[in-house]
Subunit: 408 residues, 4 copies
């Protein structure tokens, strides 16, 4: 397999240094298109906004979809890496925010570019490669936008959807799990409406900061009291914004929630509980009107296909270069499942180890390995920093290996 | 008394339409200086930043200080007035915020300009007028900055400090209270430090949103449990900011607190309780470090002088145009006390009725009047809207009447 | 004035050692009746349950009502006094509870017995003494029960209602305040209904412990956010009971609330807010039914008559043995006002200093005195312990002095 | 198999009507001993307090331990059954509490008596039966007490430990799970120490009700924020007791916690978090001293042996009368594991369906069955009511079937 690791690393560091928020991946899409064209792909840009599609056809054989995501997060980087991001962007609310590839989508994009080159360079296969570089995975709108823009009508329906997500497990480890692998994700914005006024006269107001704080606390009981301990549920209030001055009670508090569930019945129960609590906290405070509850995005669990996973696992094992594990279900979410569902194709989406293996030395039991993982900065942390070179090498190889097992 | 109400109203509407945040009152100061010069005052600008001083001397007699404040608030106006503000400004944190004269300082400034003209036009007095237009009353830094910039060394020490604050009581009513009249104010910024990470993996984080929410709830007990019901204490969390994305647990939550107290012993107790609770909530969450607690500003109670209040009250009564009441102590705060303390002069600072008297028709008991007041938009509300013409007329007359009782 | 302090102290210690809960004051009533008869009063027992009335008539003159209360509290004594209570009793809920004179009603009863003897021994007055020893002040039912049992129809209507309450201010100090002197008191029992079940399966239950805890926290905001800082309001949850086993989620949580307010408008607002919050917290939890809110007792503020207070104050001053102060309004409550209102007579009810003066040495300002008071065990504390001898002497003298100022 | 269902049902109804708290099972133990002796067992009472051991030896062969528990719970029965309990008892705190067999130990005891009779009546086996009727499973002290009293030294070491727990799944279903089957359980009592005083003067107190309520809310975050969504953890505050009067702030609040975990590492983390939070909430309130945290009981997970479970499952399947399912891990806890660990013997402990199958008609998917279960009263509910006759018949047969598979 031909991988120019130096060139790939340069692309990676460049992408890392210039992250872009979801739906704003113009620069990244340009680099992707340029790289794909350079190695012979037929490239279409602007699919579903900023999405890029590359196609390479070689005789008759199955169509294999390889997918990467390109968007970054509004996080202020603290990795201390020489190629750290100092970028800012204007978010959907019109605020200026820092931007960082804190979820590793720069790894995904770079690995898929590397695999594109390696497969183009490899004469030994027949079939059709459909490379999908999607926008806005974090916002949950990217896969949907590409499907709605005619992805499969325009570029054909694949036999399988393949992809990977970098994770804080050691480089050299791949995690493959069949069945429900990633959780459903629902993102809500809840606005608690109060009545503003002077900070010294709360009696003339309905304080939305207190209302919002009470709601944050009450929401903890969804997980602790309303679902079974064996259900997989996360309710996170990732943002809370209210007020512009200490001495002015504001009119409203705005909470951003991210909800993860692994089961549709539990998901419905959790969403109903969140709404019930928001309404009741407004009632408790004597709020002038009901809270505004907006669903910002919502995507289903990723359910990996058993046969596709078995095929991937066998191919990985045959390569004799990875330790392949079952990571169990994870509470992270992914919109890759939307691609597979829309295509009616099986999905195999795996975890790509990206952490320095050094701290894992000597950890042999699941518990010991878990302890090391727990101490590493996880995805979305301002300190998330995969070990670039070895991770890229492993990730390119994994994509190529999996794709080749379908190509004839 | 010569008042050109049309001209004054035009100045008022102009100031209202162009509010400026504290320490940024450049346009306002320019208008003030121009108006004062036009009627013969000796004007100095740039005192304590953007403060303006006007002096008019007429033979020998006492120096009377008349004070107004010029700054506005980061509030989005909702009055619907034809001269509403649509202004924005960059605050100290670098954020773009809306600006509005939600506290009525435009009334104060306009009334003092009207009084300046009326007194200049009046040949019947001897003494010295020292007009002080101060910046940043809301931030609590303006009076202090002017004193520190040599206000009294450069312009002389007054025999009395006079001023007024517009309030949602009917036009035609003045509120004079001797003794402690306005509360002490302490503004704190508390940063609760957590450990950020992916919204789906709270176990790898220390969630600062939950920590901040728990602190907001705990702070309610300062007032409800730790001070006597007969103590006057307000603890408001006017702002709460954490996170930029629903699915990223942030590293910190920042709370803006405004604390009002009427007694130094209680003030010390309250500040200690707030600090104790912030530290304990961090400990409860297992935070990686202690909260950061910053005092943003801090000013003492306004204690009106008994003799000066009696003199003002007698002068107002003699004018037979106002209903003069004792409003009781208010929980609002004012840095005018800093001027009086620094000058070693007595202070008389009164409330100026600015509300439409219509809704008060038929309200005769204190309770009935209180009910009407409770329904009106109070200072700092986005709907605070004094009845411009009559309020300006009453406010100019009150300043002139009080000043003339000292001038000989 | 003839006071046998040794005998009185023996009665006091005996009453202190044998406290009885409200409506159970049988032993105490027996001692009171016996003592009154011994000095010549016409005694009626069983008035309004366990109440005792003593009458002494001497020629024509005004009827003066002197009032004491006899009931104790369910508190476990921790004073360490040699005559400490070890008593227990069965309360209205059928539970066995400790009992202690933690509010000083034993002082009130003993002082009135002393005053009864002293006045009987004093030939220098004309008029009619109406001594009222009432049950159940703490439960709020005692004064009402005696009035409903025909107190004034059977024993005549007084010209004035006099009485006193021992307080943690120094012996030798009396506190007289005209106007609203004691707060209104409302006692509520709120039952939050959940759905019980196994402690390991909260998802099959609605947890009333969490619901009750959320309500306790939310109730803090009544005082901190919904009333003005200058309003006098206390909302105390004095009891919280739920569950009998750690591993069984119970069906309900029962909260006992005590609410103090000084103003009828604020009182109505506070009671409405408490009910609103209880209902909303049940809704937030998805409770199977509305909370049960029971008013256990409710009594109005004590409003002292201005002229009667002036008369008492003058009489106390003439005696040259006390320091008479204005204690300000207190948040404690008293049902003595029910007697005065029902009789249509003015009320003068004062505070009787009962604390050792030693720690007050050197405290001269209100703040310094307040600091000492704050460190003393207050009424209802398990460590409340008036300085018996001097307090009894002062209390007897105060009752006699006040009464003599009405008698002719 | 000879089962006199009429006689068994009579025993069951009698036990149900006369439940006894843990360590007080005197009457139950007497009935057990009498029944065992009647069918030929060698009976020893008073083992580990109120435990009963029955031995029946028939030639050479393995020793099979069959275990039942005899204790009931402090729950007020609401089943409406004709043989409902109206019993009360004095608990360890000296309080009078209602008692009910809300966990089905009466089923366990009756089934084991039925199995004892059936096996005694069956001549077709060789080996040794060791029947263990243990006290205080709920309190977690019973199995430990019997082991410490020399159970295995005195009565021999078994080849296997067998037992069952009735559950709200349909009669005719048995649940067998190898590996971790029941959670670890830790029961804590936490006393939050405040400073009591008068309900109207919270400023002179440190309110333990507010402290306890804040702790209850904070504890929710252990499950919602501090462990992974895929960890199985329950933190229940089953009891909360503070105060005896609404108008007296008490000195302390006492919380009873039940904690379930499935993994030792998570268990240690959870226990540490609970302690951290209790200490921090005391600090937040300015408590006079640290909370008192007492471990009341603590027992490990039940880990079923894979081979023993396979053997039991095979025997059940051969009987062709049950549907045998894998119930997954449950959050309930059991001290039966202590017997197996102390004996060094494999354990097979299964769930016995006890619910009316009618509501399950038509439910075929796991989700549909789960929905029906969720609506049934679970163990520890005051409405828990197994369908007596069929459950007893099934439970006797299950014990006999499992035991016979070891006996030769």
């Amino acid at each position: 397999m031909a991988i120019d690791l130096g060139a790939l690393t340069a692309i990676y560091e460049d992408l890392h240094r210039h992250p872009e928020l979801g739906r704003q991946e113009h620069r990244t899409a340009g680099i992707v298109a340029e790289q794909l064209r350079a190695v012979g792909y037929d490239v279409t840009t602007g699919v579903g906004g900023t999405g890029v599609v590359g196609v390479l056809e070689r005789g008759s054989g199955p169509t294999v979809l390889l997918r990467a995501d390109m968007d970054a997060l509004p996080v202020l980087e603290e990795t201390g890496l020489p190629y750290s991001s100092t970028a800012t962007a204007t978010n959907a609310e019109g605020e200026t925010v820092p931007v960082m590839h804190a979820c590793g989508h720069d790894v995904h994009t770079t690995c898929l570019l590397g695999a594109a080159a390696a497969l183009a360079d490899d004469a030994g296969w027949r079939g059709r490669l459909l490379l999908v570089f999607q926008p806005d995975e974090e916002g949950g709108s990217g896969a949907r936008a590409m499907v709605d823009d005619g992805l499969f009508e325009r570029f054909g329906t694949p036999a399988v959807v393949l992809g990977q997500h970098v994770a804080p497990i050691p480089v050299g480890v791949l995690g493959v799990r069949s069945g429900p692998a990633f959780a459903a994700s629902d993102t809500l914005r809840i606005t608690m409406h109060g009545v503003g006024g002077h900070g010294s006269r709360p009696e003339a107001t309905v304080d939305p900061v207190v209302m919002g704080a009470a709601l944050v606390q009450r929401l903890q009981t969804v997980v602790s009291r309303e679902v079974a301990a064996t259900d997989t549920v996360v309710v996170t209030v990732g943002s809370f914004h209210a007020g512009v001055a200490s001495n002015v009670i504001p009119d409203a508090a705005v909470l951003g929630l991210s909800i993860r569930t692994a089961d549709e019945r539990v998901r419905a129960k959790v969403l109903a509980a969140v709404e019930r609590m928001a309404r009741a906290e407004a009632a408790a405070a004597g709020a002038p009107r009901e809270p505004t509850i907006e669903v910002r995005d919502s995507f289903p669990p990723v359910v990996n296909d058993a046969a596709a996973c078995e095929q991937v696992r066998t191919a990985f094992a045959a390569a004799s270069r990875w330790l392949v594990v079952d990571p169990g279900p994870v509470t992270g979410s992914e919109d890759v499942g939307i691609l597979a569902t829309a295509a009616g194709a099986p999905c195999a989406y795996w975890l790509l180890g990206g952490a320095d293996p050094a701290p894992f030395a000597g950890a042999t039991t699941a518990e010991e390995i878990g302890n090391v993982v727990a101490d590493l900065p996880s995805n979305h942390s301002p300190r998330f920093a995969p070990l670039a070179g070895p991770t890229l090498e492993s990730g390119v190889a994994a994509l190529v290996t999996a794709a080749r097992s379908w190509l004839v």
